[in-house]
């Protein structure tokens, strides 16, 4: 089964990103594929590589990066939501003349069309939000 996952909340504030991660992990363990995880609204904050949670806490952005590396998952931050919230990849840094980028490994920034495409292509679309 091919899954699309939509994450609408940022890390640490709300359980949504944790639930989405645990769902994605379980789906993969059951032999299914994740077509794409799309991060929208404050969900784009899951893609920062600058988070430094305490050692005894889970590292939410890194956890997504690791899962994506191991299982070839497409992690997409919505560009409009990302720009508003200061999530920047190297291309966006150049285009908007910023002095840094802050995107974590395996995440990429793209348009909302990627979410619609996930709705069309995936056999199941599940949303985790507030």
């Amino acid at each position: 089964m091919l899954f699309g996952i939509l994450v609408n909340e940022g890390p640490y504030q709300h359980q949504a990103s944790d639930s989405a991660y645990l769902f994605a992990k379980a789906a993969i363990e059951e032999g299914h594929k994740i077509f794409r995880v799309f991060f929208y609204h404050d969900g784009v904050n899951n893609g920062t590589r600058l988070a430094t949670p305490p050692q005894d806490d889970r590292h939410i952005p890194n956890r997504w990066s690791e899962l994506a590396k191991e299982h070839e998952i497409d992690l997409v931050l919505c560009v409009a939501a990302a720009q508003r919230r200061g999530m920047v990849d190297p291309d966006e840094m150049k285009r908007n003349k910023k002095d840094a980028d802050n995107i974590a490994e395996k995440f990429r920034i793209s348009g909302l069309g990627q979410l619609i495409e996930a709705g069309v292509q995936a056999e199941r679309l599940i949303t985790f939000g507030d």
């Binding site: 949504a16 645990l22 199941r124």
Partner: protein, 100 residues
């Protein structure tokens, strides 16, 4: 259709709306703060028990446990499942509606 609810019924009307708008072949999975909707002896228990006549209700075990709850706290015939069970429900049901 699988319906998930992630809000406490004492905070927001997501469960109430879900119960109003689901058709009879649906299943409901309570996750995150939604698990409080599965508790017995609450102001919403009766409507949940009533829904059970036509709708199978599940609750996500890890979320239940995290909140200090277990089977003994729940309305009877609510099934506790893990994330693997969650995934399987999304496969058994062709469509998913997430009440936030």
């Amino acid at each position: 259709m699988l319906h998930t609810v992630n809000k406490s019924p004492f905070e927001k009307n997501s469960l109430e709306t879900c119960l109003r708008l689901i058709d009879e072949s649906s299943s409901i999975l309570l996750i995150e703060d939604g698990v409080y909707g599965a508790l017995k002896n609450t102001s919403v228990s009766d409507s949940v028990i009533n829904a059970q006549k036509t709708t199978k209700i599940y609750v996500l075990g890890p979320d239940l446990k995290a909140r200090g709850l277990d089977k003994s706290s729940l309305i009877s015939n609510i099934e506790i499942i893990d994330y693997k069970g969650f995934v399987n429900l999304t496969i058994e049901n062709e469509k998913i509606q997430n009440w936030l």
